[in-house]
Symmetry: C2
């Protein structure tokens, strides 16, 4: 065999080897489903969730152990939800029908206190019910808008963390939902799912800008108290 | 060059060519995001949805045009939801808090009539409210179970089509939710999302088997009528 022929064979062999390795890698990724998740984050959380101590999530740098009587060091659906929420570094967009959960409110206030851009969109009737945290968020300076229509419910329950992580499902941000109800939440960074929710938030945020409407906000006293609604929500 | 060397080179070349084609295909798939969706179905539907004629979805073989006064031939979020539901060939598992939507009820009854395995899991209180379709489904012979606990709401709103397509979101199966509320629904065949919901359905189905419990079902008269609930659901 001449030197030229040898070089040709070596060259072809190297190309085949490189492509072969790439191909085997690709095949391994295709056949990997049972070996673990692939691609962007996709996580499903079911509720009700047991009540455990979540102090370490609010202040990860804390050195002294928490002395509260709740169980410690246990991962639950709620602690996972809280972790995802508190992972925000830049922004939080929240679009939620009913918001009365104290720990979730504390998390949102904490993110606002850290200087993140927090925007909250909520339901007109439910924002003023007993126990609602919307007033507390507003008083802290968080920008809150509500569905302006008097005949429509803003029934979404989703959050966008840093514009790239979507948290969505059946779960209202209430203690009953978290601790008692059968509920589900999807947490995902899948762009094909995240983008439509980003667009929807922007659309609803603009559509419910009070500056674009003539009618006044409802007085908080007028809608305060227990809101009962039709059975059809 | 000897015949042996020629065969070796041709063999290596063929391998390199095959692997190269595979690699280019793989690269094209990786670089395709802007050219359209890839991987399993992922679709997001937002509501409210305009009311249009959906007769063609119930009877695709119909030849005469529908003469109803509603707009025809328009794709809406609701028609997409209905299409996904009616795409079922084998089974439908439905886990829904409130079910009073007549067209969705018609779709479920149609699938049952076609001989599909239909199972419905619902909320104890909401199954008996005015307008609920749960009674109609039961009378048609569809297997329905409800949350047995008296203090817990079955607040899910998801469906599994043929065990491989998940429909989930904030949307209760009611006319108000479809036509008035701001709501979202994810439709996906992503196995990492579908499987947890399959497991949850199986778990809840078994947990709410009346045969495993001593207490009686609530009488339909006792729970009939408008159910109002706390503001915290």
């Amino acid at each position: 065999m001449s030197l030229g022929q040898l070089l040709k064979m070596l060259g072809l062999g190297a190309v085949a080897l490189t492509l072969g390795v790439e191909w085997v890698n690709w095949l391994a990724r295709r056949l990997r489903p049972w070996r673990g998740p692939q691609g962007p984050l996709k996580e499903v959380l079911f509720f009700p969730s047991p009540i455990t101590c979540t102090e370490h999530l609010y202040s990860p740098d804390r050195t002294s152990p928490c002395l509260c009587p709740l169980p410690h060091g246990i991962d639950t659906s709620f602690s996972r939800l809280l972790e995802h929420l508190l992972s925000a570094c830049v922004s939080l967009e929240l679009c939620v029908f009913s918001f009365s959960h104290l720990e979730l409110s504390r998390a949102v206030l904490l993110l606002h206190g850290r200087g993140l851009a927090v925007r909250v969109l909520t339901d007109r009737d439910y924002m003023s019910i007993t126990g609602s945290q919307i007033g507390a968020l507003r008083r802290a300076g968080i920008c809150v808008r509500h569905e302006l229509s008097k005949v429509v419910h803003m029934h979404h329950k989703f959050a966008l963390v840093d514009g790239r992580k979507l948290i969505t499902g059946s779960l209202n941000w209430t203690a009953t939902a978290v601790q008692s109800n059968k509920e589900n939440v999807i947490v995902t960074e899948e762009p094909e799912l995240v983008q439509p929710y980003r667009d929807e938030f922007s659309r609803l945020w603009e559509a419910n800008d009070p500056a674009n409407h003539n009618h006044h906000l409802p007085s908080s006293t007028a809608t305060k108290g227990l809101v009962t609604h039709g059975n059809d929500v």
